[in-house]
């Protein structure tokens, strides 16, 4: 994967220029906006954001000190009924701890309609505002706008206040409808340093300026007068004026198109244009500098210092006795790795929660046999270290969480273990029962992770599988004169393919599985089914069975038309879109190989055979081979379909689509048999 080139656009980000002067004010809805029937650039749009303006300001007030106040104004045009959902809005906010809870207010919410050429305003009242306590930590404030029709323009504003300066909300410049104008401003005093990170395929303009600010502090001091009458207290007032520099940054974008979902996309949010801010440093006057995250090393240091991370790695007492037994008699690192991985898998089950820091804590998780990702994989790391291996945690971000592009604590939500060996890192995840060394669950296969060593240093680790996962099929069958087929199949799946098969089979009774296999494969009838290595997860899965099928060949006009790969052929090109916006993500490189022996019926001979073909994509992206040979009444067919990269960039989409088109055409080509 070429991580750097793929996201090289990022470097174009900070093109400083003054945003075009745009005057957007609440209440100033124009007749033209109300009259507009369709969006000028996207006639199919159900609604559009005419403008959305936000600011996050760190302000001082006498009672609370510095507080973070975020104000957002939005104007939305509804074109069609299907866009009515845009009239329901909500803000999710934090209510967990008193010191950092947020307060949200909606205001200036008005629906504008054009009635007989006149603007009619309907204000949102309290009966359209709702508070929903989602859980202990989160609440949601919702509004539903009144009097919404096709053509309505809606406006509303909300304000979020908190004394937790670190909780600046992310700003998305794009959404599923077009955004005509989007602007986000930050006002940050010199005492705070934020890391601002932008991502996406299109980027806003950025402008900054410095403002001189000052605050007046009124100090009230109770002073004991020292003297004859000790104990007399008097109150003295004094005022201090503090000057500081505030940085005002404006991000603005015009006419960003609607985001559209595609198949084979890792996570569409990775491509959404947005900006997030993370507090990296606080340097208050007369106080030591507090560092949070500025670069990968300080991010890693911060995380390592969490009570729920580093110290958890150092606890060993709870498992020592048990692990001695597990390691007893094992010598090589490989043996130890496997033994410990299996031990953690069987003794602690994943409770479904992500997180790079421990939830229960390793000790409790071990005792209760259940924990989150960090409980499990930090425990594994500690055990590996205890066994004398060089093991370290690797911070990662799941596919659903998006790609960790920038040094940032919240970019991660997951942790795995890595063992350093002379041949490179061995990556481990004990939360998935079918994961084996270097075969991680699909949710983890997301670009890069960050490995943290004991001494606090860290480095990038590529998570994307390099090794091709094989799927190898031997098929041998005979055709009778009525076109019925009977034969045997043997399928071996390796690595990621094996993990997928094992997960599919998991929990399915054999009868259920066979019913599914029969129905998915042209209603063949399966017998003598044998499955090997279901439990020996280091080995490939092997399935063998005999089958008969009445629907596998077509008899037309006395000739038999054979789909030579039977139910293994690809009948459909998965790439149907004409234009591809985002990279194709296969998850891992793979190779599908088929060796097929076909016995043709007595009294028949081959009339036509598909011609052999070899297709190679550029840059060794993949190749397809189809070779067929005849030896009297036996045909031998070999087919190989191989994709060498987990992720295919959009520039190569047309090539990939053509490749699949050629492959499907070849695999569906018939062998024609005629009577002698």
């Amino acid at each position: 994967m070429k991580f750097s080139t793929f996201f090289s656009l990022v470097s174009l980000l900070f093109v400083l220029s003054k945003a075009t002067a745009q005057e957007f004010k609440l209440g100033k809805v124009s007749i033209a906006e109300l009259e507009q029937r369709v969006h000028p650039k996207d006639t199919a749009a159900v609604a559009a954001i005419l403008y959305k303006k936000g600011s996050s300001k760190i302000e001082f007030n006498q009672n609370d000190g510095f507080v973070l106040v975020t104000e957002v104004e939005t104007r939305i045009k509804i074109y069609k009924k299907e866009g009515y959902n845009w009239a329901n809005q909500s803000v999710v906010f934090y209510i967990g701890s008193p010191s950092s809870r947020e307060k949200v207010d909606y205001s200036d919410a008005v629906t504008f309609n054009l009635v007989n050429g006149k603007v009619e305003k309907t204000k949102l009242k309290s009966d359209g505002i709702f508070d929903e306590n989602v859980n202990k930590y989160r609440s949601r404030k919702k509004i539903t706008m009144p009097n919404v029709k096709e053509g309505s323009v809606l406006e509303f504003k909300y304000t979020v206040r908190t004394s937790n300066i670190g909780m600046m909300h992310d700003w998305d410049f794009q959404t599923s409808i077009p955004v005509n104008y989007s602007e986000f401003k930050t006002y940050i005093p010199e005492y705070y340093v934020f890391n601002a990170r932008q991502k996406g395929y299109v980027f806003p303009k950025v402008a900054t300026q410095k403002n001189n600010r000052s605050i007046v502090l009124t100090n009230k001091e109770r002073v004991s007068t020292v003297g004859l009458r000790a104990g007399t207290v008097k109150t003295e007032y004094s005022t201090d004026k503090l000057d500081y520099i505030e940085t005002e940054t404006t991000y603005s974008s015009e006419h960003f198109p609607a985001m559209k979902e595609e198949s084979f996309v890792n996570n569409i949010d990775n491509y959404l244009s947005s900006i997030s801010h993370e507090l990296s440093m606080v340097k208050a006057p007369n106080r030591p500098i507090e560092m949070y995250s500025a670069d990968w090393n300080s991010v890693v240091k911060t995380i390592y210092d969490y009570d729920t991370f580093g110290p958890e790695l150092n606890k060993t007492g709870y498992f020592e006795d048990d692990i001695k037994t597990v390691l007893n008699g094992l010598n090589t690192p490989d043996e130890k790795i496997i033994a410990l991985l299996n031990y953690v898998k069987s003794s602690v089950k994943w409770n479904g929660y992500f997180g790079y820091d421990c939830d229960s804590g390793v000790r409790k998780a071990y005792k209760e046999k259940t924990g989150n990702i960090a409980d499990i994989n930090l425990m594994l790391t500690a055990m590996l270290r205890y066994a004398g291996l060089t093991a370290n945690p690797v911070l990662t971000s799941t596919r659903s969480n998006g790609i960790a592009l920038f040094p940032n604590r919240t970019a991660f939500n997951y942790v795995i273990a890595a063992v350093e060996t002379p041949t490179g890192y061995v990556l481990l995840d004990a939360s998935d029962k079918y994961s084996v060394p270097n075969v991680l669950p699909l949710r983890v296969l997301n670009w890069q992770g960050r490995l943290i060593r004991k001494d606090g240093t860290s480095e990038d680790v590529d998570l994307m599988p390099k090794k091709v996962s094989n799927d190898i099929v031997f098929l041998s069958y005979a055709i009778d004169p009525e076109g019925k087929v009977s034969g045997k199949a043997r399928r071996q799946c390796f690595d990621h393919n094996a993990m997928i098969i094992r997960n599919n089979i998991d929990g399915l009774k054999e009868e259920e599985y066979l019913e599914k296999l029969e129905n998915e494969n042209n209603k063949i009838e399966i017998s003598d089914y044998v499955r090997t290595n279901q439990k020996e997860i280091l080995l490939p899965t092997i399935e063998t069975y005999s089958f008969t099928g009445n629907n596998l060949c077509e008899v037309i006009g006395g000739k038999i038309y054979v789909d030579p790969m039977l139910f293994f052929s690809n009948h459909e090109n998965p790439f149907k879109q004409e234009i591809r916006e985002y990279p194709v993500d296969f998850g891992f490189p793979f190779l599908d190989k088929y060796s097929i022996t076909i016995q043709i019926p007595e009294g028949f001979t081959v009339e036509t055979l598909p011609a052999p073909v070899v297709m190679n994509m550029e840059d060794n992206l993949g190749s397809f081979k189809f070779v067929i040979a005849q030896n009297q009444n036996v045909l031998q067919l070999n087919v190989v379909h191989q994709i060498n990269e987990a992720i295919v960039t959009t520039e190569k989409y047309d090539m990939l689509k053509e490749y699949y088109k050629g492959m499907v055409a070849k695999e569906t080509e018939k062998i024609v048999l005629k009577r002698i």
């Binding site: 309907t122 929903e132 009144p146």
Partner: protein
């Protein structure tokens, strides 16, 4: 049509603890109970005590062994609550396979969550649920709860078997009630199950069910609610969110509903009345007036579901809907009624189950039922039904969400059970007319006009509202057997007056015909190949049904490439049977042209498990013949 189900009704699954030493080990479960089961309900006792018209206490004590990953839902370890319902106790204990206790879960460790989600914007109902990560399978959950409510309008149904792939060792129900509340019950589907009524007096009712084996879910099967035993219960004198009610018969129940729930909700501002009267003008015909009003409501309003307190049952005031332009099914139905009133057209709120799976209001059991509300307008000897939550439905169209089922029409003079419109099989039509050509490289180009009517209208007309990318995906899915499909111009005509949706689509596809040596091979049926994959099911147990029939007819002109001769044409084909009829015909014309005619009809009906293979073979022949190929040889 969008499925807008309002929370007219809440089902409270609740219960009580009988101190008894239980065997929690899995070793004592018989093999027959484990067969096909993801979970085994070992013990499930429900004790309902109705202390007065305004007080009901439900205790649950349930022990469920979860055999695998799919079995946890059978533990039903949750309770709902709201302003009138409180959870007095909830706890759970987890045991390992040998019956050893491994974890106790107290109330504070249950997760507390709002039920808001899906189509609901706001509701004050919440629920507590057990969030447990299994360490290994099997394991056993003992769940104990107690719920107290002032609403006695809904006594939970007793269903010892709550779904497929679950078996029951023992389940019991004990109900204690006051004599003068008019307690009543009705039993369903008891035959073939071991259920004993152990008590049935004027103050008590008890049942015990034993050894109910797990059943597999099978395609086209009726809902488990129509297969498994259940007992409906209710009071003639009940209470709902501060209002006492009566349910002795539908007439009285309807009167109560009109007077206590609906009255006073249909006032409108004078301005709106004047506006609607002006729109209706001189029109005298009630149905024509209603069309004008329905159009007005569709343009003015949108569906937003808000369920607060009695608002879960009582419609929002019509004046509020008028001002805000939104509401849920009750609010929008009521608003439409108020507008019709203003122009002297009588109409009635109608309660029903809104679902594509047809479900009746149980007419033999007078009680609060249903999950949706529509409006009915008396029209001579029948009714016109209006779905008021939709901004798109044609006037009076019932699609597949409210058609062909028993509903409760609430008139001021009393309630009445009525059956809604039945869409006749022959009227559920899809008619395809078109043409295509194959060139010498095997490329297909063609155009087709698809006209959908009856219940087929509802699934097709939604295509009109799709975004371009969704539309492309829809057609590529619809014709997924055509590789390399490219869509050309697509136009729609939505004739709401006649409830007829027309799609005109141009398509092309490279390599549609496969080339083998000097031959071109392709399936003659391009536009309407049957994609129903009827699964083989070993030893089907349950009957199967088609709730709606349909008929498709196609007539397609085929142009063959010049320079090729026909080597093989599929012969004409006909199938007739109890499930339906199928017929295809190819007629040779001059100038390398063919006419392909196809028709298929499937009948609405219910069939026994024994007939399933016959149906499968019927559809298999259809699929095979739909895929019949033409072979051309180069001259």
């Amino acid at each position: 049509m969008k499925s807008h189900v309002c929370a007219l009704f809440f089902f409270f699954f609740s219960s009580l603890l009988l101190a008894q030493k239980k065997d929690y080990s899995i070793l004592s479960i018989s093999d027959s109970l484990k067969e096909n089961a993801n979970a085994v309900v070992r013990f499930n006792q429900t004790d309902i005590t109705i202390l007065s018209q305004r007080s009901m206490n439900t205790k649950n004590h349930r022990i469920v062994t979860v055999l695998n990953e799919k079995g946890f839902d059978a533990t039903e370890s949750f309770e709902f609550y709201d302003k009138s319902t409180s959870v007095k106790n909830i706890e759970a204990i987890i045991y390992d396979a040998f019956g050893k206790e491994i974890k106790k879960v107290r109330r504070k460790d249950f997760k507390d969550q709002s039920v808001v989600g899906g189509g609901t914007l706001f509701s004050d109902s919440r629920y507590l649920y057990l969030d447990y990560t299994p360490i290994s399978y099997p394991f056993t959950v003992e769940f104990i709860s107690e719920v107290q409510t002032s609403s006695t309008a809904f006594i939970p149904k007793w269903m010892p078997l709550q779904g497929f792939n679950t078996s029951v060792e023992k389940a019991s129900l004990n109900v204690v009630f006051l004599k003068d509340l008019g307690f009543k019950k009705k039993e369903f589907q008891f035959s073939n199950f071991d259920i004993k009524k152990t008590l049935d007096t004027d103050t008590q009712l008890s049942y015990v069910a034993s050894n109910i084996l797990a059943q597999k879910q099978e395609d086209y099967s009726p809902s488990y609610r129509e297969l498994f035993p259940k007992v409906m219960m209710g009071l003639e004198y009940f209470h709902l969110e501060g209002v006492d009610g009566t349910a002795t018969n539908w007439v009285d129940f309807g009167k109560w509903y009109s007077e206590k729930i609906l009255s006073g909700t249909t006032d409108l501002p004078e301005e709106t009345k004047t506006k609607i009267k002006a729109l209706v003008g001189e029109e005298k015909d009630p149905i024509k007036k209603a069309k004008i009003v329905y159009d007005f409501v569709q343009k003015k309003s949108r569906y937003v579901s808000i369920q607060v307190g009695i608002g879960g049952w009582k419609p929002m005031l019509a004046t509020d809907v008028d001002r805000l332009g939104y509401g849920d099914c009750k609010a929008l139905t009521n608003y439409t009624k108020a507008l019709l009133q203003a122009v002297d057209v009588p109409s009635y709120n109608t309660v029903l189950y809104g679902d594509a799976y047809k479900t009746n209001i149980e007419s033999e059991f007078v009680s609060m039922q249903g999950n949706h509300m529509i409006l009915s307008i008396p029209t001579g000897d029948h009714y016109t039904w209006l779905e008021c939550t939709s901004q798109d439905d044609p006037f009076g169209y019932q699609g597949t969400f409210t058609d062909d089922r028993d509903v409760l029409v609430i008139k001021p003079e009393g309630g009445e059970i009525v059956h809604t419109k039945i869409y006749d099989d022959k009227g559920n039509k899809q008619t395809d007319k078109g043409s295509y050509a194959i060139d010498q490289n095997g490329t297909l180009t063609g155009a087709v006009s698809i006209v959908s009517e009856g219940s087929q209208y509802s699934s097709k007309s939604r295509v009109e509202t799709l975004q371009p990318t969704e539309k492309e995906a829809h057609y590529k899915e619809y014709w997924d057997y055509i590789n390399n499909l490219k869509l050309g111009k697509i136009t729609f005509n939505n004739d709401k007056e006649n409830v007829r949706f027309t799609e005109d689509i141009q398509i092309s596809a490279a390599n549609y015909a496969t080339i083998s040596a000097n031959k071109l091979i392709f399936a003659v049926d391009v536009f309407n190949q049957n994609s129903t994959n009827v699964k083989r099911i070993r030893n089907r147990k349950n009957p199967f049904q088609f709730q709606r029939g349909y008929i498709d007819t196609d007539e397609i002109e085929v142009s063959l490439p010049t320079g090729f001769a026909i080597e093989f044409l599929p012969s004409n084909f006909e199938l007739k049977g109890k499930f339906g009829e199928y017929k295809t015909e190819i007629i040779k014309k001059e100038n390398n042209k063919l006419i392909y005619k196809r028709s298929i009809s499937v009948n609405k009906g219910k069939y026994s498990n024994k007939e399933y293979d016959e149906y499968r073979l019927f559809m298999e022949q259809v699929s095979r013949n739909d895929n019949a190929k033409i072979i051309l040889t180069k001259n």
